[in-house]
Symmetry: C2
Subunit: 202 residues, 2 copies
DNA sequence: GTCTATATTAAGATAGAC
DNA sequence: GTCTATCTTAATATAGAC
């Protein structure tokens, strides 16, 4: 789908991808059907297959179109900024993404839990290189005594897991907090702020 | 399957559940087929359905037989023990479960991400009650000044997310650590020990 | 570009012999 | 209890009219 598109094509493709995100993120790839995506998009099933050659193609298009956005917050971590603030800001952005884009988070979670069959190359390549580069930045901050000495890779994993948990395990979080917090995010932010502040203070 | 069983029945049921765990944890419920489970168990497809009435029944039997084991570490948290040590021990046991039972972790993760259709009652009931009870224990420790003032529910969420991440996102963790750590767990343990020690110290 | 109708295959489940 | 063969349904994908 790299050809130039008319307005109606563009609009339908966007509609399909949004419907597919809704469905795939909730039921996983195999658990989702073209009928569900057709229903969610308001288009007919054969019409989906006019825009995409197959169900798989829709899924792949979704994953790759979202991968960049997903990694943007980590890319934004600036080696020239204030170390503790840069890491906290990265955590905040990730937490906001869980809150504002939970479907995207669950789409990736489903994919990775099931062995990342469709995005393994990206993980082994682009993602690993980005993480390694940022881990070096963090290691430099540690060497300069700006933050406490923690394993940079595991620090990044912990930011991922702590923030994505609120999107991926949303049902469980809300069940457990029922009657206490209607919106888990304000408390999550306060808790994670404290956690990372204490962790990173030398 | 509450009737008394012969030895051969018992053995086959165990074999089926183990094969089902292998398959369901990797592909999710809908992504798994009875053919795959039959192949993994060494039994024929109709034979699976001699022991269980349906695919769904196998999945439900798996989930409920594992739920208890899954919550045991939290149950073991002792209000009369040393507060910081009890919480650290809980985290350690959860990390060991990720390392030793990653399939179980992914089975639950798949289920919860997709909205927990089959275990919502348990989450709203048994799980919530257990967490609320343990949150009270933690709150008492805080009131007594034994540990720092952190939100008990979010503390428990953070233990879940940080430890289960190593099982659920195993593929990603290992890809990112390729060439650095063959086994992520020793570094994970050291990192999480530091994290929770700093967090909980008043 | 969009639809109805349909071909094709995969997967859950059952029948019935042994 | 276990198997081969088969029924049935659901789901991907295509054909062909408009």
């Amino acid at each position: 789908m790299t050809q130039p598109r008319t307005r109606i094509q563009q609009k339908n493709i966007t509609t399909i991808l949004d419907a597919a995100l809704e469905v795939f993120s909730q039921y996983g790839y195999r658990g989702s059907t073209l009928d569900q995506i057709a229903l969610a998009s308001g288009l007919s099933k054969p019409n989906l297959l006019y825009y995409f050659p197959s169900k798989d193609a829709i899924h792949i298009a979704l994953l790759s179109s979202l991968m960049d956005t997903w990694l943007d917050p980590l890319r934004a971590m600036d080696s020239k900024g204030d170390p503790k603030q840069e890491i906290l800001s990265y955590m905040h952005r990730k937490l906001e993404m869980s809150r504002d884009y939970p479907r995207e988070s669950r789409l990736f979670a489903n994919e990775i839990i099931q062995g990342a069959p469709r995005i393994k190359e990206t993980i082994n390549g682009e993602l690993k290189e980005l993480v390694d580069a940022k881990a070096k930045v963090i290691q430099n901050w540690i060497s300069e005594g700006k933050i406490a000495n923690v394993n940079p890779h595991h620090l990044i994993f912990s930011i991922w897991s702590l923030t994505q948990h609120y999107a991926d395990f949303d049902v469980q979080v809300r069940s457990v907090l029922a009657g206490k917090e209607d919106d888990p995010y304000p408390e999550a932010k306060a808790y994670l702020d404290l956690l990372f502040t204490k962790l990173l203070t030398p």
